[in-house]
């Protein structure tokens, strides 16, 4: 095996080993020990990914794809799926993000989860989550991809429902699982279709075979795969699970939003670009879904008061940008935004976690206020995250978001419409981000905050939490500098052999977009400052609009009416008209007939010895007569 292959396996198996060890060791491992073990294993993954990256960097750019097969996993007739990993520039980038950001979040959890009753279970799940995501990005065929896809769903279910004593957490976990299962189902169907038509499930084989397929087949397959991506990435119309997923512990939210889970959809779109390019309609649809989601999520985020929910909606919105980018064919831009988003979104969540920790679990930003003086470092970290999210020069979000928007500007008329929508999203992003910052950190300290704020004189957070936030702050600032339009673009050079971009913005377009979008973002921040900090501009009091936003555009209510209620009604009806009379009825009838038969047969048991003797004798006599008569 080559170095790249070895590092791929080490990277994948290290978190799995940790998860198994923590599970098997049980009480023999201290709670702290479980945290250290999980953290070490993810850092080992990251180290392996780094080594693999270096080694891949030394290869010829056209030959940077390596498939390594451990053994043939499934074999039936002509069907064959190996347990094989594909390490190429795209999966290497995902491996670095997943294991890098993931390990920082797991390290942060050591401080955050300190004192929880079930730390071991938590860390085993976290390691499993990282493993699942690595399997998803490293799998070399569609079956392994689907396996990773399902495992990610499982791990997220376990972690969202980590506080299983809270009914709301259990409900949120079930919701996430069911929503994801819809996507898994459409994706599995698409994979069946692709295997049926091309006879193989390996990426390279499917990509070779996809040219010869009819338009309908490719469109159907691409639609099914898009369904999986939409569910996992929480895009409209399967987005409702993501805000509820905030029921999990804060580092879990960070992991779901930054490193694992929601980015899987974008990875899928980029990885399967040869399929999507054959199905232009689906590609346009993906871009449109991204555009709609980024606006809708941005609007909803404006009225949320829960600090984690604001950040959650911002994730939906940012993933919308990535879908937009992947949909118009700006693959490296989408991946670039995925990376910077992982940095600043993990930063925002982890910093929010410190705030929540300091306020004894409070998440409502109205109960915070004035935290700037109490938690100055956390404030600075949040500010960095917020500025990066809003896309302010020279932070990471600025480079990556504008690279997507510039590609949209360079594309067709359809893409230009998306460009305008994207600019609207930039305004909303700046507005809701700084609303959160101004309300939570600016102004007077609220009564709640005065009462509950911990003494922070000995530091704002334990070392493991502070260190993770510090590293992510630096990454959120410098993460975007690896791609500067007109100057250098190592990232596109790295990714282009895997996913050739369909649109290439000129340097002018890039810089024009950057200036315009930053102007808009600054406008958004200024407006947020006027409304929520200076309070000179009153919010327009559109009660209808506010109600619609507070109900998240009535998606939950709609699904309740369209799916949940009819399903319950049908179940009730079937229960009344089929289950009760037929199933339960037949069982009741059996029971009562047996009982009646038993009661009747007890009449024979008189207890009179002579009656029994008479029965015996009569029987004997009858037998004797029969024996003689029919001999």
């Amino acid at each position: 095996m080559t170095t790249v292959a070895v590092t791929g396996w080490v990277c994948l198996l290290s978190p799995l080993t940790a998860a198994l060890l923590i599970t098997l060791a049980g009480d023999r491992l201290s709670r702290r020990g479980a945290g250290y073990l999980a953290t070490t294993s993810t850092f080992v993954s990251f180290g392996a990914a780094l080594v693999g990256f270096m080694s891949l960097l030394g290869d010829n750019p056209e030959e940077r794809a390596e498939v390594t097969t451990a053994w043939t996993w499934l074999k039936a007739g002509s069907f064959e799926a190996g347990l094989s990993l594909l390490v190429d520039p795209l999966s290497m980038m995902m491996m670095l993000i997943v294991s890098g950001v993931g390990s920082l979040i797991v390290m942060y959890s050591i401080g955050y989860m300190d004192g929880e009753d079930e730390e071991r279970r938590y860390f085993a799940y976290m390691a499993l989550f990282v493993f699942s995501m690595l399997l998803l990005v490293e799998g070399a065929n569609l079956v392994l991809l689907l396996a990773g896809w399902g495992l990610v769903g499982l791990a997220s279910y376990l972690l969202i429902g980590f506080h299983h004593e809270r009914p709301s957490a259990v409900a949120a976990a079930k919701k996430a699982f069911v929503m994801n299962a819809i996507g898994d189902a459409t994706m599995a169907l698409a994979i069946f279709l692709l295997f049926w038509k091309t006879g193989t499930v390996t990426f390279s084989g499917v990509f070779d075979g996809v040219d010869g397929l009819s338009n309908t087949v490719v469109t159907l397959a691409a639609l099914g795969l898009l369904g999986g991506a939409v569910a996992k990435s929480a895009q409209i119309p399967l987005q409702t699970w993501l805000p509820d997923a905030m029921e999990g512990p804060t580092p879990v939210s960070a992991l779901i939003h930054a490193a694992t889970m929601v980015t899987a959809g974008v990875y899928l779109l980029v990885r399967l670009n040869p399929i999507y390019e054959q199905a232009e309609f689906v590609q346009d649809l993906a871009a449109a879904i991204g555009a709609v989601t980024l606006i809708v999520a941005g609007l909803i985020a404006l009225v949320q008061w829960d600090i984690k929910r604001v950040i959650a909606y911002s994730t939906m919105s940012q993933i919308g940008y990535m879908f937009l980018g992947a949909g118009i064919g700006a693959y490296s831009s989408a991946m670039f935004h995925l990376m910077t988003h992982a940095f600043f979104k993990a930063l925002l969540f982890l910093a929010a976690g410190i705030v929540i920790h300091a306020l004894a679990g409070e998440q409502d930003i109205r109960n915070m206020g004035g935290l700037r003086d109490a938690l100055p470092r956390t404030y600075r970290a949040m500010l960095i995250g917020g500025l990066a999210l809003a896309g302010i020069f020279p932070l990471s979000g600025f480079w990556s978001k504008d690279s997507i928007l510039a590609s949209a500007l360079a594309g067709s008329t359809y893409d230009k419409v998306l460009f305008v929508i994207g600019l609207g999203g930039v305004f909303l992003t700046a507005l809701y981000t700084f609303r959160m910052l101004f309300v939570a950190f600016g102004g007077e300290r609220s009564a709640y905050a005065r009462e509950h704020l911990h003494d922070t004189s000995h530091g704002e957070a334990p070392f493991s939490m502070g260190a993770a936030v510090a590293v992510l702050s630096v990454l959120a600032i410098v993460g975007g500098w690896i791609q500067i339009p007109g100057l250098w673009h190592p990232l596109s050079n790295w990714l282009d052999p895997v996913a050739e971009p369909l649109v290439e913005p000129s340097v002018t377009q890039d810089w024009v977009t950057s200036l315009v979008s930053m102007g808009i973002a600054l406008g958004g921040i200024w407006l947020a400052w006027l409304i929520w900090s200076k309070r000179t501009v009153a919010l327009p009091a559109w009660p209808e609009a506010r109600r619609v936003l507070e109900h998240k555009f009535y998606f939950d209510e709609l699904y309740d009416q369209v799916f949940y209620k009819p399903a319950v009604a049908i179940a009730r009806l079937l229960g009344r008209s089929v289950e009760e009379p037929l199933v339960a009825g037949s069982i009741d009838a059996t029971v009562s007939s047996v009982r009646e038969a038993g009661r009747a047969s007890t009449l024979i048991q008189t207890g009179y010895l002579r009656a029994y003797a008479l029965a015996l004798m009569t029987g004997l006599a009858v037998l004797a007569v029969l024996f003689v008569a029919f001999r």
Binding site: Q605, G607, Y608, L609, R610
Partner: protein
């Protein structure tokens, strides 16, 4: 060694058996029921021995010996029960022992 035909033996055996059976059916004292049972067993034994002689074979005789052994044990248990009942001053009447009624 000629005797009467095997039929005569069988007739005697069936008469004995019937007397015993009637005794079991009509008498209410457990002691008499037990005695009647012995008569039934002896009727069966007679049939076995008659056939054994008729066939010129020892199997039936061995069977009859076994039946006697079983009958002896049965009498021990039965008489034991009856003694125990009379010790407890229970009525010696099979029609009044109906605890097993369903």
């Amino acid at each position: 060694m000629m005797g009467p035909e095997v039929t005569w033996y069988l007739i005697v055996a069936s008469i004995l058996f019937t007397i015993g059976a009637l005794g079991v059916l009509v008498r209410r004292s457990p002691l008499i029921v037990l005695l009647s049972l012995e008569i039934m067993l002896n009727g069966a034994n007679l049939a076995l021995i008659a056939f054994a002689r008729h066939q010129g074979d020892a199997d039936g005789q061995i069977f009859a010996l076994t039946v006697m052994a079983v009958a002896a044990s049965e009498v021990v248990v039965g008489l034991g029960l009856i003694v125990a009942m009379s010790r407890r001053r229970l009525p010696l009447d099979v029609d009044r022992m109906t605890t097993l009624r369903g």
